[in-house]
């Protein structure tokens, strides 16, 4: 195989040596292994993280060293691309050098083989003596070979009165080599094309410059960050709130981004998440409409994970989702004046609102429609068969005062029942990333914390009015009075439960970091769909490249070239001497077995008496 390939060097000029080196098998092996080792780096080190992470991890010195080596984005560094490039160059050299010879060999007439080989010298060989005449034996040999699919050709040599039959199988085995290596070259070329070579070049020349400010409207993005409208290949992402549309996508580059204009507008009509009964997401679906500048609808449909939508070569994928600015209706109770009516307020996720009467600002961070948790997390003894419960909507916000104190809150909209009493539940944390501490405030018969606030207020009044009285008594008396005033329908049992819960809530409130409690009374939910949009005409090239690669490997491995050469010569003593030889380009063991089968068959058919095997 390769043995025949690397020999035959006569001309020792320098260019020739360079070509030999580039096309050598040894270089190929080394490059393949080198590339494998280089690829490991990027899997050990998380790629393309914000630089701060790396500084924290390695310290400033090593951070600089690793950055200069390009270890934060290995697969786009020049040295990595250089190895790939060198491999492609080497493969190309090898292919160009070998192909003509292989093609010639494929078309080589069998007669040439007949004179080039001696059957005795082949990897497998046997000599028989047949009583049949040479012509007759030749016919038999031909028939045997034809039966086994060897396409025999006979060749008579007038010089030494012998007949040669050549049988070949898998003549196109070399095509396997050509196909695999050509596919790899095509493949790498297409991959490089995908690596935005045109954009890279444009950035190098300076005609395209990424925008670094993420907080400006589209109209404010500098012209240099816009990619050409007719860009042949791009891959960008965009987040579109429900009911809104976009005609651009963003491509992240380094610490900035580029803007690509799309040939149409994408309107996200609706986004929704389907769940399994376990609360695990089952599907993410964006219902989108594609329309042109004039507003004419071009296509409409769903984009789901694993099911992109294609329009005119542009593919739209479901990539992610976030809150798209849901409208939240809130009620706020002031802890310093719990008796007053709750204050109503509306705002959207992402907005900040002032808390009147305090120096606090609320930043509405997120809203989630569903909170599915294991049932065990709520009840000590979950209802049988119910493994998961949906706690319903919740929202998170950060409260920050001018003086700098603040906390993050996660508040559930619906009361959560626990051991017979329902609670308003709110998670609080004062350090980002710390676990939430949960505050449980019992809800009264009308389902909100109004009753609790009235009680709190009454207690505060009482404390100022009745110094010196028995604490236990007035806490309970006040409770009875508040219940009589505001919730006369409560049963004794409910009252007892409520009272206990209220007392522990009051104790919990001591550590509460804000002077108010905000509850959620309603919402107008709005998602934003994260879409990925790609245009990549080279896709089809890649697919064909893959198909050719697989076909080539199959041919190489499973259609080996096998040759059988039979030389017949009339013996002076009568009869015919038959020398049979055979080789295979692969799997010598299997071929030896096949050859043994052949030998038996030849012996039988040629009625040979003294066939001796000399393997």
């Amino acid at each position: 195989m390769a043995k025949q390939i690397s020999v035959g060097v006569v001309n020792h000029s320098r260019a020739r040596l360079a070509v030999n080196f580039l096309g050598s098998m040894r270089l190929a092996v080394n490059l393949l292994v080198l590339l494998a080792i280089a690829s490991i780096i990027g899997t050990v080190l998380n790629q393309q993280q914000p630089y701060q992470n790396y500084i924290l991890k390695f310290g400033p010195f090593w951070f600089d060293v690793f950055r200069d080596l390009g270890l934060y984005n290995v697969y786009r560094t020049n040295w990595y691309l250089a190895i790939v490039g060198f491999l492609v160059l080497s493969t190309t050299t090898c292919l160009i050098r070998n192909t003509p010879r292989m093609l010639r060999e494929m078309r080589e007439p069998d007669t040439a083989i007949a004179s080039a080989y001696e059957p005795q010298r082949m990897a497998n060989s046997i000599t028989l003596h047949s009583p049949l005449s040479m012509d007759h034996a030749t016919q038999m040999v031909t028939a045997i070979l034809r039966g086994r699919g060897y396409r025999p050709k006979t060749h008579e040599s007038a010089a030494d009165h012998c007949m040669t039959v050549v049988g070949r199988k898998g003549r196109y085995n070399r095509l396997g080599y050509i196909l695999t290596h050509a596919a790899i070259i095509v493949f790498c070329a297409a991959a490089l094309y995908n690596a935005d070579i045109p954009v890279k070049l444009a950035m190098l020349v300076g005609s395209v410059r990424p925008e670094n400010n993420f907080h400006i409207p589209l109209s404010g993005v500098s012209k240099a960050a816009w990619l050409p409208d007719n860009n042949p290949a791009y891959r960008g992402t965009v987040t579109v709130p429900e009911g809104q549309s976009t005609h651009v996508v963003y491509e992240l580059v380094g610490d900035g981004y580029l803007v690509q204009k799309l040939p149409f507008h994408i309107l996200v009509k609706r986004f929704h998440v389907a769940y399994y009964s376990t609360g695990m997401p089952k599907d993410f679906i964006s219902n989108i409409v594609i329309y042109n500048n004039e507003g004419k609808v071009l296509k409409e449909g769903n984009v789901r994970v694993n099911h992109p939508l294609t329009y005119k070569g542009v593919q739209i994928f479901q990539a992610s989702f976030v809150d798209g600015g849901s409208l939240l209706k809130m009620k706020r109770y002031m802890l310093n004046n719990p008796g007053a009516d709750a204050i109503r307020q509306k705002a959207r996720v992402g907005q900040s609102v002032d808390v009147s009467g305090t120096s606090y600002k609320l930043k509405l961070k997120n809203f989630s429609l569903d909170n599915v948790v294991p049932a065990r997390a709520i009840e000590a003894k979950p209802v049988k068969g119910l493994k998961h419960v949906n706690l319903g909507p919740s929202f998170t916000y950060i409260a920050q005062s001018k003086s700098g104190s603040g906390a993050e809150f996660k508040t559930y909209m619906q009361p959560i029942a626990r051991n017979g009493q329902s609670y308003f539940v709110q998670g609080v944390r004062t350090a980002f990333g710390a676990p939430y501490q949960y505050l449980f405030i019992p809800t009264g018969p009308n389902g909100n914390i109004g009753l609790f606030m009235k009680y709190l207020s009454a207690l505060q009044d009482q404390v100022t009015a009745s110094d010196g009285k028995n604490t236990r008594d007035y806490v309970l008396d006040t409770f009875k009075r508040v219940v009589a005033d505001y919730a006369p329908s409560m049963t004794a049992r409910a009252e007892a439960l409520y009272f206990q819960s209220a007392i522990s809530a009051i104790l919990q409130l001591r550590a509460y970091p804000a002077p108010f409690i905000v509850t959620l009374t309603g919402f107008d939910h709005r998602w934003a769909a994260g879409l990925e949009v790609t245009k990549w005409p080279a896709t089809i090239v890649i697919y064909w490249g893959c198909a050719v690669l697989v076909l080539g490997i199959f041919i190489l491995f499973y259609l080996p070239q096998r040759r059988i050469l039979v030389r017949l010569r009339t013996l002076s003593s009568g009869g015919t001497e038959v020398i049979i030889g055979g080789t295979s380009s692969r799997n010598p063991y299997e071929f030896t077995k096949e050859f043994e089968g052949f030998a038996v068959r030849f012996k039988n058919v040629l009625r040979s008496q003294d066939g001796k095997k000399e393997n």
Binding site: I40, V44, A191, R235, S277, F284, P308, I542
Partner: protein
């Protein structure tokens, strides 16, 4: 007179030619195999005609051709395939008539996916012990028992997988999936495939000694599987995340494991080669030299396993890229799992190239093959355990 003898001669030649034809070497069973598969495929097409799309027909056609070829090339596959399909269909049928593992002993102890897998683990562990005993004693009876136990394990494993496929739909039709989506299911596929391919190579080289090298790894995987079952409870059927609900995933994952199976076998044959080589150099009196087949035979088997693994691995990686293109919008994201697949591929491409050049032979290639086990194992398990990325669904 002349004409008649000429005609006789022609007839004789035609006969000689016809006798050599490969179709002539097919047995009646082969024809039955071919006919049975053709009829089954015809029925499938007829039943699913309205639901199939283009690529499902392609996959069906590939299965059809592959099964015919494999069944004829290696006849035990015919019986094995029929046994698995029949038993799995029996399990499915039992479920369909309302039986459950709770009220049906056959389901509970044999055919239920979980039970099938436990049987597989038991048989394969027993087979490993038998192979080890055989290796040291060379008792023919023990060797046959080892082969038989391995077959039993393989059959139970595939039956279990088949029935489990149906079970994923029971109770929760929307959860249904091919059982190749979590580490547990994938380990079952790995154990069963590695054993099956080992049996194939065993029957080709007609030596059982290599079982003592390959099967201990299968046993280790089976024990890992037990740990996943009893400590991690990963045998529970769970729904799958949206990214895994892909046509291409169903093809990509099993094919990867068939490739891993071949690579694994090749690496242990490499180990056997190295040890056998050492033993022979010391004079050849030891057990190793006595039990192991010749170095050339092992070298050939190793190369064959790697070649088949390489072909399948290439296809599987391409299928993975197609899946990634559908799910994430790009063929290749340099995610750690993808990158490790590339590393494995480059490693074996290097191996195959090195083998075709004269310089590297025998022991060096055996070392290369053996050391590649770590590369493959890291790609298959290590990435999920130690690195993060899109493929973290396999996390413990």
């Amino acid at each position: 007179m002349m004409a008649s003898s000429h005609a006789n001669e022609l007839l004789a030649l035609t006969k000689i030619e016809a006798e050599g034809r490969w179709t002539n070497r097919l047995s009646k069973l082969d024809w039955l195999w071919f006919a049975g598969l053709s009829i089954s495929v015809g029925i499938l097409v007829d039943v699913f005609n309205s639901q199939f799309w283009f690529w499902q027909y392609v996959v069906l056609a590939v299965w059809y051709v592959t099964l015919i070829a494999v069944g004829i090339h290696w006849r035990p596959m015919q019986g094995a395939f029929l046994t698995v399909v029949t038993a799995a269909l029996l399990g499915v049928w039992l479920y369909s008539i309302g039986q459950t593992p709770a009220n049906d002993i056959v389901l509970r102890y044999v055919l239920q996916g979980y039970a099938g897998v436990m049987w597989m683990v038991g048989f394969l562990l027993a087979a490993t012990i038998a192979y080890l005993i055989y290796f040291f004693t060379l008792l023919e009876k023990v060797g046959r028992l080892a082969t038989g136990l391995t077959w039993a394990g393989v059959l139970m494993g595939f039956i279990g997988l088949g029935v489990r496929w149906r079970e994923t739909y029971i109770g929760h039709p929307s959860w249904g999936h091919v059982p190749v989506t979590n580490l547990w299911e994938v380990m079952v596929v790995f154990c069963a495939c590695t054993s099956l391919f080992y049996l194939y190579y065993e029957s080709r080289i007609k030596s059982r000694a290599l079982g003592a090298f390959v099967m201990p790894l299968v046993a280790a995987s089976a024990i890992f599987l037990l740990w996943l079952t009893f400590v991690q409870h990963m045998d529970r059927i769970a729904p799958i995340i949206p990214a895994l609900q892909s046509f291409w995933m169903k093809l990509h994952v099993p094919m990867m494991f068939v490739a891993y199976a071949n690579f694994t076998i090749a690496s242990f044959v490499g180990l056997a080669y190295i040890l056998g080589d050492r033993s022979r150099k010391r004079g050849g009196g030891g057990i190793l030299a006595r039990a192991l087949p010749s170095g050339e035979l092992m070298d050939d088997m190793m190369a064959k396993a790697i070649a088949l693994g390489f072909l399948l691995f290439t296809i599987a990686t391409i299928l993975g890229a197609v899946w990634a293109a559908k799910a994430w919008g790009g063929f290749w994201s340099w995610d750690p799992k993808e990158t490790w697949a590339l590393i494995v591929w480059l490693n074996y491409a290097g191996f195959l190239h090195a083998r075709t050049s004269k310089g590297l032979r025998g022991k060096q290639m055996a070392w290369w093959s053996f050391m590649s086990l770590w590369v493959v194992t890291f790609c298959f398990l290590g990435v999920n355990l130690f690195l993060s990325g899109l493929h973290s669904y396999g996390k413990l």
